[in-house]
Amino acid sequence: MNIHDKYKPLTFWEKLYLPAIISGLWLTSMHFFRNLTLHILRALRLRKTADGAVTIQYPEFLRPLFPRLRTMHRLTKRDDGTPRCVACMMCETVCPAKCIYIIADEKLENPEIEKMPESFDIDLGLCIFCGYCVEACPVDAIRMDTGILEISNLTRKGMVLDMETMLNLEPMQDRYVKYTKEGEIVSQEYLKQDLSK
């Protein structure tokens, strides 16, 4: 609609209101009857494909996550299983929510790596999931690709992720959706499942 059309005086037909109201009622009641028919057909097991609703019944069915979605953090490991993090404090410095707490330690057994974290805590109660820590990391030690969205706890302390937990987290699982190496979604089986149960 042209912006100037908004301020045109209403025509007589528009001023009557009733034609516009009836066309609106027609639209909504057509949706109503179409969806009602589809729901009834589904309940009678006569039709299984078309849905009367676009709703995804969340706890039972999960919707696909975009591969680049920022979810709960994890720390990557070297081949020998030690954390990749070199405790450079870049993420802690860049964090706008100031939710990363790193205590650095010397790594004596490997002279090529000067530092490693003694502890690496992220307070998810403060985190705003901006992903700056991932961007800032020079050694690709922190990632936000676990696909874990349901983050909740009964205490504030429980919201703090420690290094041990984060090291053991895996990248996004099949539980949500499968991806190719290029990041394309392969499986959507759950979308074809019967939603009416």
Partner: protein, 360 residues
Amino acid sequence: MVEGIGIVLLKLAFVLLFVLNFGGLLTWVERKQSALMQDRIGANRASIFGIRLIGLFHTIADAVKMFTKESFRPVAAEKFLFTIGPGISVFFALVGFAVIPFGDVLIIGGKEINLQLAPLNIGVLYLFAVAGMAVYGVVLGAWASKNNFALLGGLRASAQMISYEVALGVTIIGSLMIYQTVELQEIVRWQGGTLWGWLPKWGVLMQPVGFILFLTVGIAQSKRVPFDAPEGESEIIGYFLEYSGMGFGMYMLTDFVETVMISAITVTLFLGGWQVPYLMADGFHFPWGATWQLENWAVALLQVGSFTLKVMFFLWLQMTIRWTLPRFRYDQIMRLGWKYILPISLVNILITGLIITLLK
């Protein structure tokens, strides 16, 4: 004597069950119908032993929640009025049903039972008196809360309801001129006739303009969208701001009961009430000459069923309107009421009078 009281009590039980069940079910209808209209599924999580029954238990869950919730009263509130406010509101919404006929006469054991709770000869006037009192519950509740926002909501409510009260009376005068009576049972009986031998003489055909105006004013009286400026829960704060628990529940129930009420009055005045087309007291008399004899109980059953179906249709229509139209602004409500509906209904009375005089 005892028999008469028993019959009245039975009719009372029937009417109350009818109204309250419809009122309660409307919370479910509102959720599910809006969901269907918006391509959603709607509330379906409340369950008893894993049985969900397409969300019907949410009605019960609501009731349990309302009853067990703390009924908070602000310190400054007027204790007595604050407590009885919701009660007044519900009371006047419910007593209107006393004069609504839901069937013709039912004959049991040679005794004629008029299927109407109170056969008042001033039926329509009683209805409007009761509808006019409904605003008291709202205003008293709002004022007694001692909350300025609630008071403003109450002011909006009283302004709207009193403006539309005038229009409500004027819109149906055209119909009453045709019916020549204000007793609702008589009005329904009048609509049992036919035009030119085949068209049912329902009020909607005799008074199409009056019907549309009355429905509009009726929806405005029930304070629901698009005329919910008194409530405007999410934006402008309504008159029941300080109510919680069952106090709020009763105000909400009032809205739903009034929805049923408006449907019932519209059906009675304009859609032939309990009339089934071509159904006389002794069975069907079709315009092409065929007849189908029916027992008295079957006729009564058909009539009550017809009334219920018509009411259900209007409930559906009101819900559809409620979920289609956006809210009118306050000045738009006033303009619609005073500058459009009132003059149009006055012209309607004039034209109806002219036609009646010319046809004599």
